[in-house]
């Protein structure tokens, strides 16, 4: 029968993770863990009380505590793409409970906010038994999304261009994700200078799509380059089939929704 642990500090939490390893489930908001990992775990660790819910903005960028909720993002973080993503996570009650940290670990096709964080090339910071360690979110996912400590903070620099988020769902509100796309495009002298494109519902975890980005760099953002990027995206991803949508449909929506996002950016 499970043991419920409530560490008094981030360091204590890191220690518990180190000693219990994979038999430990972490509960922040509970909207994911209470369904999936907690019921079967030997130990359950609640982290709501650790105060990881601060939002700090500076000229350099943004620092978000892993415990910042969807509602907090909607109310206090005027970055439209992040607000749009948070708005699409469940209904109002879920938004009051669900955290960014939980969103990063959410199983696909959930994890909409993580998609925007990828497009912002966010850095994640963990508190481990051996101190703090940070890495790029994209590398964290590429390495298999295994955490060796407690996720405490997400940092991102100011976006390097215009940032748009779109979600294909089954309903307008409170819908699980078919696909989600976040695109951050910086234009330099009429050509795409930098591009950061991320998808949800396109693979085992939220992912960057380098192939689509490469199709845009150095080109004008117009019909031709957008079409090329969408084609690359559809081919480069490996969406799954579940009760929400098939792989067939997801692949097509990846192309469609990237096209729409890029057209929105091009229209200015």
């Amino acid at each position: 029968m499970a043991e419920y642990l409530q560490p008094g500090s981030v360091e204590e939490a890191a220690g518990m993770i180190a000693s219990h390893g994979s038999s430990l489930a972490i509960v922040a908001g509970g909207t994911s863990a209470m369904r999936y990992s907690a019921p079967q775990a030997e130990q359950v660790m609640g982290v709501r009380g650790l105060g990881m819910n601060k939002i700090e903005r500076s000229s350099g960028g943004l620092s978000l505590g892993a415990g910042v909720t969807m509602s907090q993002i909607r109310e206090s973080l005027p970055i439209p793409a992040l607000q749009d993503a948070a708005r699409g996570v469940g209904g109002p009650a879920v938004q009051n409970m669900a955290t960014i940290g939980g969103n990063i670990f959410a199983r696909q096709p959930y994890g909409d906010v993580a998609v925007v964080l990828l497009a912002l090339d966010a850095t994640v910071t963990f508190s481990t038994a051996n101190g703090e360690r940070s890495q790029k979110l994209v590398e964290f996912y590429d390495a298999g999304a295994q955490a060796d400590g407690l996720l405490t903070r997400i940092d991102c620099a100011a976006p390097g261009g215009e940032l748009v988020y779109l979600k294909c769902g089954r309903r307008r509100f409170n819908s699980p994700t078919v696909v989600a796309v976040a695109a951050c495009i910086g234009i330099d002298n009429g050509k795409v200078g930098n591009a950061c494109i991320a998808f949800g519902g396109a693979g085992k975890h939220p992912m960057r799509c380098v192939a689509a980005e490469q199709a845009l760099i150095g080109k004008a953002l117009g019909d031709a380059s957008i079409k090329a990027a969408a084609q690359q995206a559809a081919g480069a991803c490996s969406p799954g089939t579940d009760s929400v949508a098939t792989e067939w449909y997801r692949r097509r929506m990846i192309a469609t929704y990237l096209t729409r996002a890029l057209q929105q950016i091009a229209a200015g």
Partner: protein
Amino acid sequence: MASKIVSLKVNGKIEELVVSALMTLQDVLRDTLDYTSVKEGCRQGGCGSCSVIVDGELRLSCLTPIQEVDGSEVTTLEGLNQSNSITALQNQFVEKYAAQCGFCTPGMMVAIKALLDSNPNPDREEIVEALAGNICRCTGYLPIIEAVESVVAEMSGASGE
């Protein structure tokens, strides 16, 4: 198996409870404290029939570990009845046939209360979004939305309802 003592205020009354590891707020409200208006429809956070207000915020009790609300204030529909805070809404539900089987109704009431507490004058879009987490299989939602609109109109002193 370690039990703990949790103390929280439910519907205005302080409750001190011995709880075991993964008991949820829903378990405690229904089974220990007999607040059976809190329904269990899915235990997945999908239907909203377990909705309650915790520290002023709408939450899903089925996904809330009881140990996370130690020291919190919780309100269920029973508490709203006690304080007569939603009589007008309840009357409008009856007028507009905004319930049939009634199973989603307590969750709806709580969600609407949470909405009107933060936004006393919502338009239809805002009402629809505020209730997006509460599923109803009987009414088709329109009578519920109209009931809320009527209450809003009443409260803001608009003519005609």
